[in-house]
């Protein structure tokens, strides 16, 4: 019963949404209600996740666990943001500017680190994985598109070269279409598994 109830709920929800889609626009109300449930449940889950995160780090601080200073920073910043947001409102320009001034450089720096890691990975991939079809194709495509990204060839304004560049730039569409088709088929199969109760959504 512990596993059967979530399974029944999942199957019924899928069937209801599917029926609402088939019988649109009459089924629009039902669809809106079900999707609003999804949004509310997701918001509650987010609140639970935030509370769990705060409690966990408060425990770390109380126990003096290794690295509790970072937990202290997290908890202090969390409660400061919460209090500031409750007092001034989430749409207050000062509050938004203050939060943005902290979050934006941090995330940008992290993205810069990702670029460096990608550089290192590009250098290591041949040494670690050796010469294979995957690594060779990756290396060739990376070199070609890096050269194209520099813009030197485009600035030459040669008609033939521009045609070649256009052809090369269209090539990713092949991969993108294949990727999208794969995603679509995967989602369809996943939906069938949920509808037929084959997906163990209720697994412990």
């Amino acid at each position: 019963m512990k596993r059967l109830l979530p399974l029944i709920v999942g199957v019924l929800s899928g069937l209801v949404v599917l029926a609402a889609m088939f019988f649109a626009p009459q089924g629009g109300n039902i669809l809106g209600v079900v999707l609003n449930w999804v949004i509310v449940v997701a918001a509650v889950a987010l609140l639970v996740a935030i509370a769990s995160l705060a409690i966990t780090h408060i425990r770390f601080i109380a126990k003096g666990k290794k690295g509790f200073l970072l937990s202290l920073v997290l908890v202090v910043s969390f409660f400061a943001t919460l209090v500031f947001g409750l007092l001034r409102g989430v749409e207050d320009p000062v509050f938004l500017k203050w939060v943005g001034a902290i979050v934006r450089p941090i995330e940008t720096a992290l993205l810069g680190l990702v670029a460096l890691v990608m550089m290192s990975a590009a250098m290591k991939i041949f040494r670690e994985r050796g010469w294979s079809a995957l690594t060779v194709s990756f290396g060739i495509s990376a070199i070609i598109f890096l050269i194209l990204g520099l813009g030197f060839l485009q600035n030459l304004n040669l008609p033939i070269l521009n045609e070649v560049i256009g052809f090369v730039e269209v090539l990713p569409m092949i991969g993108a279409r294949g990727l999208l088709i794969g995603i679509g088929i995967g989602l369809l199969m996943m939906a069938f598994r949920v509808l037929f109760g084959m997906e163990g959504s209720g697994n412990d």
Binding site: P25, Q26, P93, L96, K97, R104, E107, L110
Partner: protein, 673 residues
């Protein structure tokens, strides 16, 4: 293959069996023409000859005429055993078989006959093989006995160090000797030897150098003790008349008695015989003949008990071995004399060298003697009991080399040290940092104004131009702070274009962080600062119902800030996630045919949007620096961007080159191996 062995021919040379059709012996290659027979053609004379041979011999044995040579009348059926008698018989009186034998003897070179010669050769070969096998087994058996005894002796010696640790201030090698031949006289003399060198602190582990030094000192003192009483022992009468001074004689005895215990026990000291041959036994053995010559009576008295003791010890040793190996004593006792001639022959060539050192000049210092310093190269200088077989010497040398290398740091095959790569990484990081810093310090380089834009970007421009004044455009902000720089640079010019056309813009964000990011975006445009940005929870999921049924959005209590999607002319998706854009295009767009969708995304996500643009689901999108009219933005450093791309390219090529180099080195190593 199935032939009977009785039909096989025996080689007259080697006596081994061959096939009947063989013309040459397959074993020795000798000719077998005379034995060649043809199948299917019975050769009566030879068969008769072969078959009649035993009969002939039997007749010879049983013929009474031949057994009694004095019988006057020869029996015509009798077979003469003596050729002289045969020649006396006339040809017509000869028996038929004898005539055949004589005829065959005249025809063949070998009068004995091939068959007989083959039989004799075969018997000889078998005899040799049998004797060789017996001899080989005997030798192997004796070798096993010797090896066993050596192993036992070495095991006994190994057990001694633990005992020697308990007895302080006594060298290890001396304790071994004491344990093997406990004689009070030797204990006294050897204790005197060891004290001067290592009286205070004896090393726990005896190295070869320490043993050598100890041996030199011990031998020097032994020699002194040995040579000093020599004048006393020169007269037999004094030696016999001094029973009250056994110690003085005893001090001289060990030099003569050392060979006795060295017969069996001195082998227990590894490498002694090989690396440091005992000079004392050599000189003693050499002294014996000289002393016998000079003092025959005295030596006879002294040697007799020694030889008796040696024989007794030898018998005991053999008895021990025989008990362990269940070997008959006779075998061992028979083998020992076989080595004695070698032993007695060995000292003789050494006599002239040792005599002047020992007997002629006994008063010299032992250290100055060349015999002690020099290692004898000939086995003649070694007592017979210390003689080693070749394999024993090889093993001893191997053991000596192992002991010599023990404790030393050997340069074994060490694994090739892999480069850590830290230096390389540091160099690459420095290169990146320097490149970026220099490119930024030089100053912003504007992007060329004539840089061609992508086709989707041009299509988006065309779509924006079609918008009329008052048209509603929904701008959905769905990106993170990390990508805000790239997306804002692309979206800001578009928003300005919208604003210039007096298009009504409504801003929504699906991310909580979108509120302050929208503020930054609006600040980069000419839009008023109080432009409202609403949060749209659930993203496009919250709009599906209103997209499906427009009447729902007009209902009371709808919390969505977007009341009706059908009223918008264009939806501009500013997102760093192709999945979010795909969700809008697949979940919302099918329900509202009049609504156009455009996108502003990162260059990384742009390839996924190409199919949607190609199918018309997207009227256009802008991605990358070329699509955003970045030449108008002074904050954008195009040079830094290009430097970053160049560095990425260099890193990629470096990775390829280093891999190729590593492969080439590995191939070279493999080929060299």
């Amino acid at each position: 293959m199935t032939e009977d062995h009785s039909e096989l021919n025996l080689c007259p040379n080697c006596g081994k069996e061959n096939l009947p059709m063989a013309t040459r012996c397959v074993h020795c290659g000798s000719e077998m023409e005379s034995l060649f027979t043809i199948f299917g053609q019975p050769q009566v004379p030879e068969e008769e000859g072969e078959d009649s041979l035993p009969d002939i011999i039997e007749e010879i044995r049983t013929d009474p005429a031949l057994q009694v040579p004095a019988e006057p009348e020869p029996n015509p059926e009798a077979q003469p055993s003596d050729q002289a008698e045969e020649q006396t018989l006339p040809g017509d009186q000869l028996p038929n078989w004898l005539a055949k034998v004589r005829e065959r003897a005249t025809e063949e070179e070998d009068a004995i006959g091939g068959l007989v010669s083959g039989t004799i050769a075969m018997d000889a070969v078998r005899g040799e093989e049998g004797s060789a096998g017996v001899e080989g087994e005997f030798n192997a058996w004796i070798n096993r006995i010797r090896e066993k005894s050596e192993q036992e002796n070495s095991a006994r010696v190994r057990q001694l160090p633990s005992e020697s640790e308990s007895s302080d201030e006594v060298p290890e090698w001396l304790q071994r000797i004491r344990a093997l031949s406990p004689r009070p006289e030797e204990e006294i003399t050897h204790e005197v030897k060891t004290t001067p060198a290592y009286a205070d602190d004896l090393p726990k582990e005896w190295t070869d150098e320490a043993l050598l030094e100890l041996r030199r000192q011990a031998l020097a003192e032994a020699h002194e003790q040995e040579t000093e009483p020599l004048p006393d022992t020169g007269s037999s009468t004094e030696a016999e008349e001094l029973p009250a001074e056994p110690v003085e004689e005893g001090t001289g005895e060990p030099a003569q008695q050392e060979p006795r215990f060295s017969e069996t026990e001195f082998h227990n000291i590894p490498n002694d015989e090989e690396e440091y041959p005992e000079p004392a036994p050599v000189t003693d053995l050499n002294l014996q003949p000289s002393q016998e010559e000079e003092f025959p009576a005295d030596d006879a008295d002294e040697q007799e008990p020694e030889t008796d003791d040696a024989k007794e010890a030898e018998k005991e040793f053999i008895q021990d071995i025989s008990q362990q190996e269940s070997i008959p004593k006779d075998v061992l006792l028979e083998e020992e004399p076989a080595r004695e001639p070698e032993a007695h022959e060995m000292p003789e060539p050494q006599e002239p060298e040792s005599l002047p050192a020992e007997a002629v000049s006994p008063g010299e210092e032992p250290e100055e003697e060349p015999g002690e310093e020099e290692q004898p190269t000939e086995s003649a200088a070694v007592p017979p009991d210390l003689l080693l077989l070749r394999d024993q010497q090889d093993r001893a040398s191997l053991l000596a080399s192992l002991i010599e290398e023990e404790g030393r740091v050997t340069a074994g095959k060490q694994a090739a040290r892999k480069p850590s790569g830290r230096e390389g990484r540091l160099a690459v990081a420095l290169l990146l940092i320097i490149g970026l810093i220099v490119s930024m310090l030089i100053g912003p380089a504007s992007m060329p104004t004539d840089t061609p834009r992508s086709l989707p970007a041009l299509a988006l421009d065309e779509q924006i131009k079609t918008l009329a004044e008052g048209d509603r455009v929904l701008v959905v902000l769905d990106y993170q702070a990390a990508t805000s720089r790239e997306l804002e640079a692309l979206a800001a010019p578009l928003l300005e274009q919208f604003h210039s056309q007096d298009v009504h813009l409504e801003f929504f964000t699906t991310q909580p962080s979108g509120l302050f990011l929208a503020q930054s975006l609006i600040a980069q445009t000419d839009l008023p600062e109080d432009t409202k940005v609403d949060y749209l929870p659930g993203s496009y999921l919250s709009l599906i119902s209103s997209a499906v049924d427009p009447t729902i959005s007009d209902g009371v209590g709808n919390p969505n800030p977007v009341k009706d999607l059908h009223t918008f002319k264009l939806v501009l998706l500013v997102s760093d996630s192709s999945d979010a854009i795909r969700g809008w295009l697949e979940q919302i767009a099918p329900w509202i045919e009049t609504l156009n969708f455009a996108a502003v995304t990162t260059q990384m996500e742009a390839p996924v949007l190409i199919p949607y643009f190609d199918s018309g689901q997207l009227v256009g999108y802008a991605a990358g620096i070329a699509d955003g009219n970045l030449s108008l933005q002074t904050a954008f450093n195009y040079r830094a961007f290009r430097v970053g791309l160049l560095l990425m390219l260099v890193m990629l090529l470096l990775g390829m080159i280093s891999k190729g180099e590593a492969d080439a080195i590995r191939r070279e190593e493999e080929s060299s191996e």
